[in-house]
Amino acid sequence: MTKKQIIGKIILYIVLILLAIGMLVPFAWMISASLKAEKDVFAFPIQWIPTNPKWSNYVKIWKKVPLLIGFRNTIVITVVATALQVITSSFAAYAFAKLTFKGRDTIFLCYVMTIAIPWQVYMVPQFIMIKNMGLTDSLVGLILMQSFTATGVFLMRQFYIGIPNELLEAARIDGLSEYGIWAKIMLPLSKAAVATLIIQGFVFEWNDFMGPLIYLSSSNKKTVQLMLRMFNTQYSSNYALIMAAATVSLIPVFVLFIFLQRYFVQGIAAAGIKG
């Protein structure tokens, strides 16, 4: 390496480290503030590591707001909606990719057209319809509204099209039913797509704010994100507790991110290359 290259590399590292600090500072401040007494939160100059960490903040938050119920509701919504989405999308995608039936292309066109339409465009009539079904202020309504997305079907179909037909023909000759083919061939071969779909579903459901805000009103139905918002409005002067609640709400996604980052990235990169 020449001297110039070494200097270039050092500059590169300095720039990257500065940028990384810029990205991480808000999180560091959040954790630091969550361990302080309220009067020290905004003390200046900033004391990054509290001398007397107040772990009790993390005990208090569960009593101030029914955060545990929020977690329960969010977990129910996330698990059920993601499972429904993965199962029904991969089912429908198999029909679209590998079976022939009347109206297939027309129906698929309906799916594709809606991908480009933002939820904000139809959230009002959707709410009215679900309200008339008596499903507002219930987890069921929210789950049903979010479980049947066109993007899920589209993603799985793209993946299934790449699986060779000869494989399915051979299985049919061996006497496997279409359901058997779906369960024993398509699903195992599409693990990567399923993983992407699960992760995207999980992150979306966990972080979703506007959906629950519009649909859920009683406090025992609220999700983690709504509870966090409640904290922010009801205890607006108690930043230490708000930061503790924010930290707790970020942990599940953070853990998932650390272990399954590959799948987060793969899905996005694939979408970009295709586009």
Binding site: W29, A92, L99, F101, V121
Partner: protein, 311 residues
Amino acid sequence: MSDTSAKAAAAAAPKKKGSLQRHRTLIAYSFLLPNLIGFMVFTFVPIAFSLVLSLCDWGAGNTGIKFVGLDNFIQMFTQDKSFWISLKNTLYYTVVTVPVTLFIALLLAILVNKPIKGRTFFRSVFFFPYVASLVAVAVVWMALFNPDKGPINSILMALGIANPPRWAASQTWAMPTIIGLTVWKGMGYYMIVYLAGLQGVNPELYEAAALDGANKWQQFLHVTWPCITPTTFFNLMMLIVATFKSYDIMYITTQGGPGEATKVLAYHIYNSAFVSGKFGYASAVAMVLFVIVACVTLIQFRVEKRFTDYL
């Protein structure tokens, strides 16, 4: 006798084929229906319904739904000041957020594409805010930018700035504060897309350019940039749609305020429907959003077709 049995077999064959076909169709529908029913009821019908609703007068209080033609649109374009303000704010938000995000995302992608130690770590750090919950990061962001006691203003004051901006509480600075949060949170996503684009560039092109004596900047200008144009275009379109439909970030941080400084189009839809209870009118505003997004998507379709022809 052999004659009749042959005829019977010939007659049975198409019938059997027909029932087999029907059987296959039934199986196909059994795969399709669980999703199709949900999709039709909860997505497709609401979309169609929103078109109808935009031509109707329907409030949360009264029970009747009344066809009023284009009245909602006329009212929106001629009388509703809030609509024009929110359209203007949406444009402001989009026009600043999109290029800034694109620029930083590309810069980050180039940096973390270099063969250095710890680049996976840096990628993760830049990407994480994208998956973090908006409510949580917005709460932190608002505390950091708290105009009276937040650390940002404490630092600015320590640096000798006597009257630092009042950020989300000021008419002028509220939108830039929100744009900052949007860029910070979202750029990791576009960085990943750019990274995939950069990795698709043929390395031989760089070697050829280097042989011709091109320096790093010239290599970027004449090799990297043209090669990743489709990626830039994809990111651009995604960003435009994302910024046009966004309103959760304004709801969480400023509630559209102060005044109407950060009220955007989608927020106006939400407000008209769920605060003022004017469902028909809200759907008319939604149609404007729909038309804008549809135009963006159509341009994307046409141009991308050209890209794929070209490639």
